[in-house]
């Protein structure tokens, strides 16, 4: 009966069914969060507190990484472009790659590892120490009280963080190419302005970062809420949050880019 072939088959079947079951549970959880998010807006102080933990505390890592990513882009772009005598186009290169792709994607990856993992660990520990059960005993809806404000805080913070990342990156590129390497400042800005479109590039970047914010926060909250109430379970859930949301951000980025920039 228990020969290796049937055991392997049974294992694969179990993994697939388990995955689909979890996906269904995650979808139901997501709908619940949306349905009960009225509390997040009625008691705005709760949401503001979570914006502080998710957004404000991520500021340092976002600003510093943005600055360095922009500086590297400027340095590498300048190195290649000056061979073709068009070093002024480095502004276009830095701005387009940041606003369209790197800003939303890298900010979302950093957000997942900085704020997403913290959310998972916090909710997982609340579950392990039976605080969530205690809330239910007091007839307080834990999804409305705990999950909702964190979700909306993530959705609000993500586009702002991505915009700050792109802005800092462009300043970093400016610092390296104009101040250090001597590209003309007027050409740097005017070439950038000539090829970056407000709707096509900037707005699509903002839409991307909102989608990433929803995905990362929803995954982090679900993993926390679904974590086995043990020390091992919480640590596993935290790891899964970072891995799953990073993969989700990269996959979603491909899909969104294919939709948005098809004609360009």
């Amino acid at each position: 009966m228990a020969n290796p072939a049937s055991r392997t088959l049974r294992h694969i079947g179990h993994t697939v069914i388990d995955g689909v079951w979890r996906l269904g549970y995650a979808a139901r959880f997501f709908v619940f969060v949306l349905l009960r998010s009225a509390v997040s807006f009625r008691r705005i102080a709760l949401t503001i507190r979570e914006i502080y933990f998710a957004g404000v505390l991520s500021l340092i890592i976002i600003l510093v990484s943005g600055l360095f990513v922009g500086m590297v882009l400027g340095l590498q772009g300048f190195d290649t472009l000056q061979r073709y005598g068009s070093a002024e186009a480095v502004g276009t290169l830095v701005a387009l790659s940041l606003v369209r792709e790197l800003g939303p994607v890298v900010a979302a990856l950093l957000f997942a590892s900085r704020a997403g993992s913290a959310m998972t660990a916090e909710i997982g520990l609340m579950k392990a120490t039976e605080q969530i059960t205690a809330l239910e005993m007091m007839a307080v809806d834990p999804i409305a009280r705990i999950v909702g404000p964190r979700f909306w805080a993530g959705v609000v913070s993500m586009p702002l963080l991505a915009a700050l990342f792109s802005g800092m990156g462009i300043l970093g590129g400016y610092l390296i190419t104009v101040v250090l390497l001597g590209v003309d400042a007027g050409a740097f800005w005017s070439q950038m302005q000539a090829s970056v479109d407000l709707r096509e590039d900037v707005l699509n970047g903002v839409i991307k970062s909102i989608v990433f914010g929803v995905a990362v926060t929803a995954i982090a909250l679900f993993e926390g809420y679904d974590a086995p109430p043990t020390a091992e379970g919480v640590s596993g859930a935290t790891t899964r949050t970072v891995v799953t949301s990073s993969l989700a951000v990269l996959a979603l980025d491909f899909v969104l880019t294919a939709f948005m920039f098809r004609g360009v």
Binding site: Y52, G167, I170, Q193, A194
Partner: protein, 151 residues
């Protein structure tokens, strides 16, 4: 204290968005609101793309709005969106030019002497197609061969 930090964060985020909108993108240099459309027909548009700049005397006056293929006359019909601030006479010549040797292609407008001005939906009749490198080389080789035969 918490509210103060969140306020600073939101204000900084909005400022970054404003920076991207005004300083980085072209919203400030070209207002897409007030513009009129004119069409021009070209035998060959080369590598011209939608959103390519339309320049007159080197100044950005508009952008390419749409490019279609006319199946009756077998020409390319290009729609240009030109800023309302700039008006051109009806005999304005439109030519497809390249900025630099490897740069992007754009449409250059040379104003004519007509007293009537182009209106929304108007048509430019004087056009000059893009220079296609293969045709240029072909012409050069042909003329060299003709010279050789004459000798």
């Amino acid at each position: 204290m918490l509210d103060l930090w969140v306020g600073i964060f939101v204000a900084a985020g909005l400022a970054a968005l404003l920076f991207l909108a005004l300083q980085v993108s072209n919203a400030s240099t070209f207002n897409t609101g007030d513009a009129y459309r004119v069409t021009a027909e070209f035998d060959n548009i080369g590598g011209l793309k939608v959103r390519a700049p339309v320049k007159s005397a080197g100044v950005l006056v508009g952008r390419v709005d749409a490019i279609e293929f006319d199946n009756q006359k077998f020409v390319a019909r290009v729609t240009l969106r030109i800023d309302k601030r700039y008006e051109f006479p009806t005999d304005t010549a439109a030519s497809i030019l390249t900025s630099g040797l490897l740069g992007e292609q754009y449409i250059g407008l040379d104003g004519g002497g007509d007293t009537e001005l182009l209106k929304d939906g108007g048509r430019m009749t004087l056009t000059q197609s893009a220079v296609v490198l293969e045709k240029l080389i072909g012409q050069f080789l042909y003329s060299r061969a003709a010279e050789g035969a004459a000798k």
